[in-house]
Amino acid sequence: MSGTELTENELIEDRIDLSRATCPNREQRANGINVWYGKASDLAKEARSGCLRQRERNFQQSSGCVLNFYLSVRIGTIRDAVAIYHAPVGCSSAALGYRELYRHVPVELGRPANYDLHWMTTNLGERDVVYGAGEKLREAIKEAERRYNPKAIFILTSCTSGIIGEDIEGVVSQVQPEIKATIVPIHCEGSRSKLVQTGYDAFWHAVLKYLVKKPEKKQKDLINVASMLSYTWQDRLEIKRLLGKVGLRVNFIPEFASVEQFEQLSEAAVTAPLCPTYTDYLARGLKQEYGVPYFLYPSPMGVAHTDEWLREIGRHTGKEREIEALIKEEHEKWLPKLKAIRQEFENFKGNGEKVEVLGALGQGRLLAQVPYFDEIGLKSSAAMCQDFDNLILKDLEKLLAQMGDFDILVNTFQAAEQTHITNHRNPDIAMTCPFQGGAFKRDKGVTRVHALRSDAHPWSTQSGYTGAIAFGNFLLQSLKSHSYQRTMKEKTLSTYKDWWYKQPNSLYYLKAEE
C-alpha cells in the first residue's frame, strides 16, 4: 500500500460532461468495486491510498447488470412516457409486471388513479445482429408516438445493441425532428460495467442531458428526492408528511413521476437523498448545470439521521426555525416508542448481550442503517454491501470514527458468499434482498432489507420518524418467526456442498493475482 493519500479531488471524477453520450462507469468515476472482504477500516485505507482495485472471482453468480438491476422496472413507471428496449426480447422481460404490480398501492394513498405504462422491445434477432437494426429502432420510436403520443421516449440499450455497434445517437438525432416526444437514449448496455450503479448514473446522465429544462422560475419550497421504490410508498408519505408540515413540497422521481417533474428538477431549492449513491450523479449534475444545491448525507433513516436530514433541508430553504419546532414535536411523539423497542431488543437475550444483525445493503443503506441499528440497540459487527466506491469513502471514514470497526463483505448478490457469511457469523437477524438464493435457510431470524414493489402498508416504512419505529418493530417480528426457514433448512438440499460452510473464507473463490 502506498503511503500517499488521495485528496477529495482525486477520489472521484467530479465533473459531469453532458456533451458526452453517457456517464463514465462507476469504476472510472469513483474507483468502484464489488469484490472485497475484510475490515471496513482496511477497505477505507486502501481506497484512500488509491490502492483499492477490482478483483475477479472464479465462481460467480448472476447478480444484475447495468440494465437489469433495476433500471428496467424504474423507467417503466414513468408516466406519459414509453420505454423502448433496443435489445433481444429477453432483456426487457423483467419489466413485464408493469401494468399490474403497482396497482397494489391504493389510490387513496396517492398512487395516480389513471396511469398507463408502456414499454416495447425492438426484439433483436439473428438478422438484426448481422445487418443492424437502426431502422427497426426508428420504426419503434414512430410506433410508440403513434400509439401513445408520449411526452418522452426512453431508449434503453443492451449488450447486443452495444456489441454490434448500433449508432443510437445517430438514430435519435435523425428521427427526433419528426417526433414530438423528447427522445432520451440511455446507455445501459449490460456488459459496459460490473457495477449496477453505473446504470443509475447512465439514467441520470440522460435525464440531465435531454429532459431537465432551464429553470423558468426557482421554486423555493420544492425539494427533489430521487426515491427508488425499494424504499416503500410509505417512505414517500412520511417524507411528504414531514416536509409538508413546514410548508415544503417534494418532487419525487423517477417512479410514477410525470415527464414534467423531470423538466422541473432545475427549479428546486435543494436535492436531498433517500439513497445517496443512487442520487449522487443527478444531484451533482443539477448543481453543476443549474446551481441547485444538494447534500448526500445523511439519509433520513433513524431518528438522529432524520433530524440531521431535516436540518440540512432547513438550511437550504431558510426554514431552520420551523424545522427545529418540527423535530421537537416529533421527538415528543416518537422517542418513547423508540425507547420501548430498544428495551425489547436489549432484553431479548436475557443475558445483557445485544442482538446481532447482519445486513445485505446497498452502500447508501450501509451508511444509513448501521447507525440506526445502534440507535435501537442492535449490534452489527459485520455487513454486506452491494458495491463500494469512493463516493462514500469520506462518510465511511466518518462512520468508522463514530461506530468503530466492523467486517464488510462487498458483493452484488453473490448468494454463495452471502450464505457463507451468514452461516459463519450466525447473527440473530439476517437481512437480505428477497431474491438471494437460499440465504434464508437458517435457524434464526431472516428478513428482507426492503420491499420490492413499494409495499403501501405503514408497517413497511423505513424512513423518517414513523419509519424508525415501524422498522424497529419489523425487525423485532423477524426474531420471532423461524419455522419456514428452519424447515426448509432441514428438509431441502443445500445448493452448496458441505465443505463450503466448513472453510473459513466467504471470498474463497477470489482469483489469485497474476
Binding site: 426487457s92 423483467a94 426484439n123 463450503w500
Partner: protein
Amino acid sequence: MGISEPLETNNVISGAIEAPRYSCALAGAYSTAVGIFGVVPILHSGAGCGIGQLFGQFYGGGQNAGGPYGGTSTPCSSLVEEHVIFGGEKKLEALIESTVELVNGEVFAVISGCVPSLIGDDVGAVIRRYKEKNPEVPIIHVNTSGFAGTSYDGYEYFFDAVIDQLLEKAPKEKGLVNVFGIVPSQHIFWKGEAREIKTLLEKIGLKANLIVGEFEALENLKKIPAAEYNIVLSSWIGHKTAEKLEEKFDTPYISFPGVPIGPKQTSEFLRVIGERLDVSADVIEDLIAREEKRAYRFAEFVGDILLITRPHPYFAVVADSNSAVSITKYLANEMGYLPDIVQITDNPPEEARKLINEELTTDLETPAWPEIIYEVDAYRIRENLKDRNFLFLLASSLETPISGPEFNALHLTVSFPSYNRVILEHNYAGFSGGLTLVEDVMSTYAGPL
C-alpha cells in the same frame, strides 16, 4: 456458436413488440434447466441475464422464486467489456470448474447468452476440453443466445443439447413414455400439470417420464431413448425434440394440442394413448367411467351458481396456444360458455396454426366459434378486446387491471405472465382439473346470492 451458424427458430416476428408474453431463447433454456430438479444451469452471459429472468420468467410464471439454482443462485460468467475484447472462454472454464466443485447437482448445463455468441466464444471447445479431463461429470452446452428466438425455442434448444450430448441408444422399455411440450414457467401450471399427467398415465399402467418438475434429473434424461413413445402436449412446442428423437432413436411420437382439461379431453387423450401403446381398452374405459362419474357428479354442484349469476356467457381468452385450446374447449364443450375471441400469444408456426384453428372451431360443440387472432403485441391484444360481448376474460395478469374498467369483464389469470397469482401445484389438467378451472372462474363472481 458464431452468428454465422444461425439457429433454427420459430421466431418469425421481426418488428418491435410491446410487452410480449415470453422471454428470449436463453430464458427458455434456463427455465427448462431450473424446472428439472438436479440440473444446474451455468449461464455464460452478462451478469443480468439470470436476475432478469428471475423477474421475467420465474416471477412471471406464478411468482415463483428461482429455487436452489435459479435467479441469483445461478452460476454466471458475468461477462463485461474486457471479455467482449479478450473473449470469455477462460472465465467460463474457471466457472465450470468451481461450479462442479461447489454446487450440489447431477447435470450441468452451460447456457450461452448474447455476448459469447456475438464475440464468437468457442463454448463447445471449452466444454469438450472439460469433458476430456472430467469424463465423469455430466455436462452439456445449450447452444443458444438471447437473440436466437423465444422462450419456446429455448426449451427445444435445451433438449437438442441433451439429445446430442448426453443420450446414448438404449433398449426400448415396454410402457415407458416421455412427455414433452410443457415449458416450465411459460406454462404457469407446469408443476401441477406434469404431476397430474404422470399420475394419469400411471393409472393406465404406463411409466411416464415427465422430466420437468421431477427429481432424478440425470436418470430421467438418460432414459429418454428407452421410451416406447413420445407424447407431446402441444400443437408445436416439443415437436422438434420429438422429431429428433424419432430420427435418432426410432421413437414414434404423438401430439395433442395441449394438456387435457376435464373429462372429455382427458378421456380422448387416454383412449388415443391406449390405442397407440396397446393398453387394454378395459383398463382405459374403467378409469374413464370412474373418473367421469365423479367429475360430473361434482359438476352438478355448480348448477345453481352457473344459472343464477352469469349463464351462457361469452368469454375471451388471451393465452399461449396450449392453454388457449384446452381452456376454450373445456368451457365451451362442458360448461356451455360461448367463446367470443381467442388471442394466441406464443407465436406458433404456420403449420401449427391450422391445427389450432381446427381445434377452436370444428372441435367445439357449439356453433359460437370464436374469432381467432395470433398476436403477441400487448397494445394490439388490448385493442382487439374492445367493443365485444365477453363477460369473462381468461388471460394473463397483464389484463388484470384493465379487464373491468375497459371491457366490463371478470378476469382470471390462466396464462403467462402471472404476477397476481402464486402458482405452485395448482393446475387444470385431467378429470378434476376442469372442476378446478370452474372453481376459479366462478369464484370471480360467486358470493352471497
